[in-house]
Symmetry: C2
Subunit: 326 residues, 2 copies
């Protein structure tokens, strides 16, 4: 797996440097405190997956302007805005191994800096001169906030179905990846076929990405994950591994699982018991297999593009989404 | 004063009905809970000053399309979004005489519905097909969130200057009124002269509006005001009446004022003492006079427009901003 990571990194090293610079250069607030809070979330070791996909999507469509790096900050800012708001919403204490912004600056400042980043994203998109891009990003923000509300409404509900879970992660995560690839195709004046292909690539990748994240919440150590393992469960978020295992388990084991889910003070031993049952009833395997099939669909969508180094990197990224350590 | 209110209301009754309908029709979420929370803030007896100014601004520029009512929801949604976030930020308990949304649904849902409304505002603006409009609204949102951060940073600071207060209310309030008038001029394909005139009208009106609001926080009863009188002070927000009086008062009375300001548990008697001192040292009169001069500037800006019923109503609204009960 290290090979995959290494290959991607070698291919996009310069792009990542440019993106990093663009993220700092385009923040542009008049208050230092806003830079500081935004910088805390923006420069905390994010993988830059979204801006990178944007740059590569523009390139694979033959884009030859010079706005793709600046533009790629838009979705990273939007993503950072939702992270700031989500961490307030979820009362999360850790983000990428550091204290979450709201535990450092308080919820108020964090909410407002989130609003600022959200607005910056739209401002930067408007500079493309393409109204479709603005519409897609505004619509995306509508969907993401509703996906979060939906998830909150179902908090702790052990009857959450796989279909509803899919609906939430579609809005909460997949649409952002879809939009990232689509708007870059629009920026590049891609054909309709190319735009559709990239949208499908991004969407399916996004679903797989979220499923992998939900899996990591049970399988990684906190130190690797950068957020607290078991946090989803503690917040009452039922994700696919659990939804599937609950459906498969007979009533005895099901009751044990429900008891742990419904106890916000569950112990480390409880968590181990639960993980064991997720494994026993196939929740982990099922989630991994489902995510894998989304990755396959994503990769197939790129078939419309001729072979190229850019395409190879995008295919590598698709594999990496499932096999990354975080 | 009732005459003024009556005259405005008669002139715009049909417009207000249309705006009310547009606000309900364009909300458009897939989750009922989002409608419910957004509806709680949107349909709680707001004056509709911003959408009304938008409709009138388009009309005074001779607009003859049919999007001005729908479009006018954009800034009311944006305004509602900031109210939702601000009430979380300020931990306000009352808004327009009703419990603030976050005390009913919690901060999490409230933040997310605010995000939804913010995104809706941008979506609705994008439908105009004018990128300048989108850019102005995204830039406005950047400024508003920073204005709020700025205010929070200076919370409880008795050395806040009038210049800094002006900077905060400019970003927090005046720019929204300015944008409301300007974007409607753009929608109406107004001349540059008209657009500038309307922007000035909105900006100066907005400054006066905020100063009046800050005055009401000391002079009205809670039942009239719809939010808790003295709330600004309790939240540590120093506004113009206080800033001016602190500057004028000799050290003895100044110390009494500072003691009350710095005591979050101040009593009703303390509050009366403070209001008395604001009056004694001219803080209330100064604020009223300053606001009046902004209203005069606003009204003068409309000189470029020929006499019309629309213009008369806009001039009436300018007077109303200072003389409204809330």
């Amino acid at each position: 797996m290290n090979d995959l990571k290494h290959r991607i990194f070698s291919a996009v090293k310069d792009d990542l440097d440019d993106i990093e610079k663009a993220l700092a250069d385009n923040l542009n607030p008049y208050l230092d405190l806003v830079s500081e809070v935004a910088g805390h979330i923006l420069f905390s070791g994010g993988k830059r997956l979204r801006p990178l996909l944007m740059v590569l999507s523009a390139r694979i469509c033959g884009y030859n302007g010079n706005y793709e790096k600046t533009f790629s900050t838009a979705l990273e800012y939007l993503h950072a805005a939702t992270l700031l708001h989500d961490d307030v919403v979820d009362e999360a204490t850790l983000r990428r191994g550091k204290p979450a912004a709201h535990s450092k600056w308080g919820a108020s400042i964090t909410i407002l800096v989130g609003d600022y980043l959200l607005a910056r994203a739209l401002s930067i998109s408007a500079v493309t001169g393409r109204l479709r891009i603005v519409k897609i990003l505004a619509g995306l923000t509508e969907n993401m906030s509703q996906g979060e509300v939906h998830q909150l409404m179902r908090k702790g509900d052990i009857n959450l179905t796989e279909a509803e879970y899919n609906e939430v992660i579609r809005r909460k995560t997949a649409m952002l990846f879809e939009a990232a690839c689509r708007v870059s195709a629009i920026l590049a004046d891609a054909t309709e076929e190319q735009e559709t292909a990239l949208s499908e690539f991004g969407y399916n990748l996004g679903i797989a990405f979220q499923m992998a994240d939900d899996l990591f919440d049970y399988t990684l150590e906190t130190s690797e994950f950068g957020k607290e393992v078991g946090a989803d469960l503690r917040e009452g978020k039922l994700t696919l591994p659990l939804i599937y295992a609950l459906k498969q388990a007979p009533s005895g084991d099901r009751d044990i699982m429900i008891k742990i889910i419904q106890d916000p003070q569950f112990s480390e031993a409880d968590f181990k018991t639960l993980t064991g049952l997720l494994e026993k009833y196939g929740g982990l395997t099922y989630t991994h297999n489902t995510a894998t099939s989304f990755i396959d669909t994503a990769k197939k969508a790129l078939a419309v593009f001729d072979p190229s180094a850019t395409k190879d990197t995008m295919l590598d990224i698709a594999d990496y989404v499932l096999n990354r350590s975080v």
